[in-house]
Symmetry: C2
Subunit: 338 residues, 2 copies
Amino acid sequence: MTQQKITINEVASAAGVSVTTVSLVLSGKGRISSATVERVNQAITQLGYVRNRSAAALRGGSSGTIGVIVRDLSQRFYAELTAGLSEALEAQGKTVLLTQSGAHGQHLTRCFDSLIAQGVDAVVLGGDARNAAALAPGVPLICASRASYLEGADSLRPDNALGGRMATEFLLRQGHQHIAWLGGCGASLTRAERIGGYCATLIQHGLPFNPEWIIECDESPQAAGTAITRLQQRYPHLTAVIASSPPVALGCCLALLRREHALRQAAVDSNGVQPMALVGFSDELQANLTDPSLTFICNPARAIGRAAAARTLLRLSTPDAPVQHVIMPPQLIGSSGQ
Amino acid sequence: MTQQKITINEVASAAGVSVTTVSLVLSGKGRISSATVERVNQAITQLGYVRNRSAAALRGGSSGTIGVIVRDLSQRFYAELTAGLSEALEAQGKTVLLTQSGAHGQHLTRCFDSLIAQGVDAVVLGGDARNAAALAPGVPLICASRASYLEGADSLRPDNALGGRMATEFLLRQGHQHIAWLGGCGASLTRAERIGGYCATLIQHGLPFNPEWIIECDESPQAAGTAITRLQQRYPHLTAVIASSPPVALGCCLALLRREHALRQAAVDSNGVQPMALVGFSDELQANLTDPSLTFICNPARAIGRAAAARTLLRLSTPDAPVQHVIMPPQLIGSSGQ
DNA sequence: ATGAAAGCGCTAACAG
DNA sequence: CTGTTAGCGCTTTCAT
């Protein structure tokens, strides 16, 4: 179909220079006179030449690819992260090699092997990094996850404690003093960090912190609805709740609306019905579920991806730069923010 | 750190054979005695050899990579699609090169160029395929999008008309006869196909189809709430609504609950208040927003990804297989399904 | 059934 | 500043 084999050789002769010059122009390395650069680029576009990165990689140059490992792209946080990362890397002429290590990270080794075999210039690792330390010696490793990180490698992650603080302060600002925490799994590091922020904020404000107001529950509206109803019965003076995720927040929201219903219908004086306030956590920035009654603290996943891209490029250009750990602030979307 | 340069040469001598044999074993091509295969594989694992795909690609073999182009990974449908695709391809030893063409497909050409430069064995294209026809001659192209496809290339996509039919039939089965359609943009092909299924179903059941019950609106709970309230006022005998997306469904759900409130409080006879039924569309299978009052018709995005992977592998092994177009059924998640 | 040898397209020494 | 040249690790005829 198209002209098959346009190599730097053709480009070189077309531009009346040597292959070295062309190669230098391509990688922007040597000091080539701008006139020559011009001529070469012209030849390149004229011939429709596309550089063969395999050959470049083979010879020792960089492959122009960055490996990414995430557990599963259907997890919002990692999808957003990967989107930001790929966007930023592609803008710099890099290409992303995507691998999924599986829901439990079971394919981590396979991921590293594929990436190494493909000659990636660096690896960005999402998710748990604990046993990834020595899997890819010789290739820069950048960690970008929801909570964990590696001592010796560059890392980016959300400021979960700040998220917990933001949620709590948002509710305090509205006058609430009895705030419950609903949802999430006790083993979650992200959750633990967020709850840390929640507790710290309460204490800073001289409010008592009651561990019985911290409830684990499945990430489903049903489970959340059941849990919050029980919570309200047991602790009637609770006036606000922090939900660990959008489905939990939704479950709370619906349960609360229905409860208001029921109470009003029971002919209780309307004034006696105190509507409960609600804040939820989310992994997507737009969190387009927001509504007057739904406010979210959103992870800056996409921004983390972009930052990881920047860090990766820096690490490639400056291998000796000191290791850096960055934590990025969440964003409040809904009632007051955005 | 680790042993640096283990090439097929080391493997060959370690196994006491020639590089040819090793290469043949690696690609499973030539007829090598199983004894030799055994010996070679042993040497490979012993030395921790990993094949250099760049070299293989350069010499003419396959690179073992499949290129993927999506508009933006933060769109659920494409995140799920990519997850399924990558999962299935990695299980077969392939690696995915991910590129994003941008919200408006503005980087499509750049995507193709990068992928070609990297020597991909095939390209899976998500999103609009119209002007992608001739961008990558010589490389198999597989289309996997929400609606559009290319005549000459293999394609996979959701059965949107069936989705519309499923939503409508679900409501009809519950006895509803006055069903509105809320949300989406008039220019959307996906929406048009779904609405086609909706209309067809109504007609098949001998029900009138009223174009004024099809409302465009922003994909936000607020917009949906406003729209459905207006709709109810204008057409009081509507008893059900189909929502184009989760945020629209949520907005409807909340608005409906509040309206029931209001009516009940206004001391209207409770029996006069007919609760409205609701079905929504979603791009994620778990659609974990489901709740007794929230049912979803979910796109089989992940399954489409897996099917696209299978089709890609088939196309690589059998280049002459006839072009195939596959449409995949959505899934009802919630009240009755699942 | 296996081995020897010729490059694939590119980059990085070295020279000029 | 630019040209010559030697491979990178692998696949693939062509012999054996």
